[in-house]
């Protein structure tokens, strides 16, 4: 096969560390995410994965799909477990292995936040990726604090859909003043992979907030995962930026920003929203993005 592949230009590393046969739903954004992450970091990686869809996607005993060592952890303990792993590696003199904590939004924004905050405060040498699908998917689509305003989940029923903005995990982690924080999106794997590779080269705590749609929970066709992910960024709902040593940089500045409604209307979980809610959400997106621009202005490279 490698002879044939010579002919094609690949924009991602060719190696596949993750194997097919895994248990993700059709079109799962989170499964794409892991594929990219392991392409970026390679086999010298140890994973710490708490309860989340990925705890299942990897497969049941006695199987595994990731091709690297993986430690399942209690739901709230991904970052603390990873702290242990990275310190063990240090203590045992293994300095060429990357510790990768890999958790869902629930395991990061909610129940795992404290362990994460502790680990980044200690500046543990690890990469922490939260794949954000904006709800507790593994247990059947319950609200997390990452669930956006307006969304239906099983605990925020249509009549009483989620009110309030999703927790701004980036600001929270940036406030810990660690060497590297970034957002990424499965629709832009090259960017995600570049960021992971940069993160790998930096010593200390690195955090990546990754946008990863979930067709099952968002009620969209499995074929629309990438499209919807892209729309999130193209509408400025999920901007792509990084904060390196406190310096803000928006990596993708969208020229022709699309209306948020385009993003929302593509998903069943927002179907019930009346027009004025769409307008409200648009105004909040504008406001958040403006805030980000101000941060870049105040704390960017040119500031």
């Amino acid at each position: 096969m490698s002879a044939e592949t010579k002919k094609v230009r690949l924009t991602l590393p060719e190696n596949e560390v993750m194997s097919p046969g895994h248990l993700a739903c059709q079109g799962c954004g989170a499964s794409m995410a892991m594929r990219y992450a392991l392409k970026a970091l390679g086999r010298k990686t140890i994973l710490s994965v708490p309860a989340c869809c990925w705890a299942v996607i990897d497969g049941p005993f006695p199987y595994s799909a990731v091709g690297v060592p993986l430690q399942q952890s209690a739901f709230e303990a991904a970052a603390a477990t990873a702290s242990g792993i990275t310190n063990a590696l240090k203590s045992l003199g293994k300095d060429d292995i990357t510790t990768l904590a890999w958790a869902g939004d629930g395991g990061t924004f909610d129940i795992g936040l404290q362990a994460l905050s502790g680990a980044v405060e200690r500046n543990e040498n690890m990469i922490y990726v939260v794949y954000d699908n904006e709800a507790y998917m593994n247990t059947g689509i319950q609200r997390s604090s990452s669930t956006p305003h307006g969304a239906w989940t099983t605990t925020t029923p249509v009549k009483h859909y989620r009110k309030g903005q999703k927790k701004n995990i980036m600001e929270i982690i940036v406030a810990h003043h660690i060497p590297y924080c970034a957002t990424a999106n499965i629709a832009y794997p090259e960017d995600f992979i570049k960021k992971l590779q940069k993160a790998k080269s930096i010593k200390g705590a690195k955090f990546i907030h990754l946008f990863a749609p979930c067709p099952t929970g968002w009620k969209h066709g499995p074929d629309k995962t990438v499209k919807i992910a892209r729309l999130a960024t193209e509408t400025n709902t999920f901007p792509i930026y990084e904060v390196e040593n406190g310096v803000y940089k928006i990596n993708k500045k969208i020229k022709n920003v699309k209306p948020v409604a385009e993003y929302l209307r593509a998903q069943g979980r927002f179907r019930h929203l009346p027009e004025d809610e769409l307008e409200y959400i648009q105004s909040m997106v504008n406001k958040s993005y403006k805030r980000l621009e101000k941060l870049e202005a105040a704390f960017g490279e040119s500031a």
Binding site: L23, A24, C25, Q26, V56, P60
Partner: protein, 184 residues
């Protein structure tokens, strides 16, 4: 007590079918129990569900090993999974398929009565699911009612109205149609 075991694939609604059947029997004054074998498999993987119907209180809580009735929502499971294990002598097997009962070979089971009905077509006709994935769980219950006589079709319809959140009418009609069409 009558024990019914459902076999389907993730996404077909076998668990819901077991529930609707139980509810229908309840509407007729029976004691009932329905429950899934809850695996971790997702779409496409084999799924099992159970219904017990009885005049007396049902105390037992284990899986059904020796069913009186087997309901097979997906014919591709035949052969792939040991479906007929434990089926009682003279048991009934109800299959969603375009094929005829005679076309199936259930040697190894003692004198089963086999019934078939093309629920996929019925479902599609009533706009339930897509071509690629018709939702057959309500349609097949009509056939179950007919083949077993355990519950009336009206009870099935009423139960559907209660238990199925969307397209209730269509689902009920599908059940009635399979009730009418059943071959066996």
């Amino acid at each position: 007590m009558v024990e019914i075991r459902f076999h389907g694939r993730g996404g077909q609604g076998a668990v819901k079918a077991s529930d609707v059947l139980a509810m229908a029997a309840f509407l007729e004054g029976k004691q009932v129990q329905s429950f899934p074998f809850f695996g971790v498999e997702r779409r496409g993987a084999p799924v099992t569900a159970f219904t017990r119907i009885s005049d007396d209180q049902i105390r037992i809580h284990c899986y059904i090993y020796d069913p009186d009735v087997l309901v097979i929502l997906d014919p591709t499971l035949i052969g792939a999974v040991p479906l007929t294990d434990g089926l009682q002598p003279n048991g009934k097997i109800i299959i969603n398929t375009q094929r005829k009962p005679e076309e199936f070979d259930f040697s190894g089971t003692e004198n089963p009565s086999v019934y078939t009905v093309d629920c996929s077509s019925i479902a599609l006709k009533h706009g339930l699911g897509s071509e690629a994935a018709p939702i057959v769980n309500t349609a097949i219950l009509g056939a179950v009612a007919k083949a077993t006589g355990l519950v009336g079709i009206d009870s099935i319809a009423e139960s559907i109205m209660e238990k199925i959140p969307v397209k209730q009418e269509k689902n009920a009609e599908a059940a009635r149609e399979s009730f009418a069409q059943l071959m066996g």
